[in-house]
């Protein structure tokens, strides 16, 4: 296990126990399941009855990982930012795909736990938080066939003219008196959508002229009018089933419309701060996993009469990888503490987007660079299926696109930097 430089964490027996327990779960439960899921030739097998996907999901729910981001008064665990960060890094170490599944799982009810009141809390959020059998499974419906990562820019004022030119949004909600009717398609890239029971869905509202005129709602997916696409066959994150959702006159009650104008732009930006910390941290876990694989291999693999870690070129690589993993951990942790403070402690919802986005980008980029170098250290063996490192590399590559391409996230952060840095 890595040396923790923060003495507040290192000397806290509770935090050490939490880290060790979560690591054990990641190693004994997540990794073996992720390996099996990754090798399934047909992605539909991943979500089939009896698949390890469901077993892991149930076990993660039994551990309470599905409510890390819930408000403490509405089903949340009331963890500190550091506790959440420790858990997420370990989950990412075990499998970024399965960690993503438990991340998007909490989007519908977790967002409701932050902003809603009334029946939706009693009838959905609390039962969701208490579920240990994976009766509920969430996904996050953002991107659309005509609007990919650009959807994120809908929350940035400066991009609105561009977003308007690009597309006004395809999934639309119209008021039906006592509720809303939803129509339109979401893209193939929705994590867990093929297996989900509910979506946390981004929609546009009348007059449907812009993504900025948007709203966030919860849509139960087991109902007439919802078509769930088959899981797509992809390069990386194969243990996280992704697919599209199509809505044809799907009804939701009014209180399932969780965020509506004029709150959409500002509140969605804060949700992105939370998800960015989440993503940056789980990819830090992946980076560490790749580094540890490479370090171990380099100590055992002999060439030129000595372990390859004694060759200078490998030492350079190991050092650079170590530096990235460590800086990624402490940067994502610091940003998570900031976001946690603004959302869960102060309740001011004014976390710094530029920092949250950079934590996500930094975590994902570090994971890719470290996994890339890890494959290089393994040489030809790094390309074979005999070693975990090739999966880590594929997953890390997917990360540069998943949850927003690093380019679009960077553009979004740059807007905040230009406006707010002084």
């Amino acid at each position: 296990m890595y040396f923790e430089i923060d003495s507040k964490v290192r000397d806290d027996k509770g935090l050490c126990l939490l880290r060790n327990e979560t690591h054990r779960f990641a190693e004994e439960v997540m990794r073996p399941a992720a390996k099996k899921l990754d090798r399934m030739p047909d992605p539909e097998q991943v979500i089939a009855k009896g698949s390890p996907y469901w077993n892991v999901l149930k076990e993660m729910k039994a551990m309470g990982y599905h409510r890390l981001f819930f408000h403490k008064d509405y089903g949340g665990l009331g963890l500190s930012a550091i506790e959440a960060h420790i858990i997420l890094e370990e989950l990412g170490w075990g499998s970024v795909g399965l960690a993503t599944a438990i991340g998007v799982d909490q989007v519908p009810a977790g967002v409701a736990s932050l902003f809603a009141l009334g029946d939706v809390i009693d009838n959905l959020v609390i039962p969701w938080a208490e579920d240990t059998e994976a009766k509920f499974h969430g996904c996050w419906g953002v991107t659309e066939p005509e609007c990919g990562s650009d959807y994120i820019m809908a929350t940035q004022e400066s991009f609105l003219p561009y977003v308007r030119q690009l597309h006004p949004g395809q999934v639309k909600a119209d008021n039906s008196g006592d509720g809303w009717v939803i129509n339109g398609p979401k893209a193939n890239w929705l994590s867990s959508a093929p297996a989900a029971t509910h979506a946390g869905l981004h929609v546009t509202l009348p007059p449907h002229d812009s993504l900025a005129n948007g709203a966030f709602c919860i849509v139960p997916l087991e109902q007439k009018g919802v078509t769930k696409g088959k899981p797509i066959d992809k390069l990386g994150l194969r243990d996280d089933p992704q697919g599209d959702l199509v809505f044809d006159n799907v009804y939701i009650p009014d209180d399932y419309m969780i965020i509506r104008p004029p709150f959409y732009e500002l509140r969605v930006g804060q949700i992105l701060c939370l998800t960015s910390c989440f993503v940056g941290t789980i990819f830090t876990g992946l980076a560490r996993a790749a580094f540890e694989e490479a370090l171990e291999y380099s100590k055992n693999r002999t060439q030129g009469g000595k372990p390859i870690c004694e060759h200078q070129s490998i030492k350079h690589k190991l050092y650079a990888m170590f530096e990235k993993v460590e800086s990624s951990r402490y940067y994502t942790r610091k940003v998570m503490e900031h976001v946690w403070e603004k959302i869960y402690i102060e309740g001011t919802f004014d976390a710094s987007s530029m920092h949250a986005l950079s934590a996500q980008i930094y975590g994902k980029r570090s994971a890719f660079e470290v996994a890339h170098e890890a494959v290089q250290i393994f040489g030809g063996y790094g390309l074979t299926r005999d070693f975990l490192v090739e999966k880590l590399f594929r997953d890390a590559r997917a990360g540069l696109i998943e949850d927003g391409t690093t380019e679009v996230l960077g553009l979004s952060a740059a807007y905040n930097i230009i406006q707010e840095y002084c």
């Binding site: 902003f115 009141l117 709150f263 004014d350």
Partner: protein, 202 residues
Amino acid sequence: MAIFPSKDWIEAVLEAAKKSEAYKEAAKEWEGDFLCVVQGDEEFLRELSRKEVMQGFMSLMDMIPAQDRAKYKDTPTGKVFESLGIPVDVSIKDLNLDEVMNKAAKLSAEDIKGVSLYVWADFWHGAVRNMMPVAPDEHEDAVFKLSGTYSAWKLMVSGKQDTIRLIMSNKLQLQGNMSYMMKHMKAVVLLTKEVFAGVPID
């Protein structure tokens, strides 16, 4: 313990605002007054059967000059005044509370429909410069107008519920520059947590 809304409550809130350094710091850049509209609901009707609540309600109305209070005439609130035997345009200090209570017992949910009380509060650079009940149509040009039922307001002023969650779930309706409010969220949060919740209500 103060009754919400009442003269005592307003005075206690003004005092709490003066004492809260955290609020003063968080709101030091805030410029904007609020017109608060408290709408009668079933909880308000139930509460009016308590003598101290009725007393608080009357003390609040008494803060409005009689000629301004006359604007309540022909409004649902004015009609409730009438049913209670409270004249809208003369002093109500000397009314017999027991008689008013007897009449209040006969009020129905239908009577309370459309009843609204208006409180204007002027928040300026960390201070609450003024807070007072006003008559209908007064201070309609306030920067923000926050409306909601008596029960929703009680959740907010007691600190039991977060203001923005109440607004987002449509329990309270806000008119005004939302971006401005969001940029000063700390001031909004501390107004609820430190100032309003600093005055326990009965």
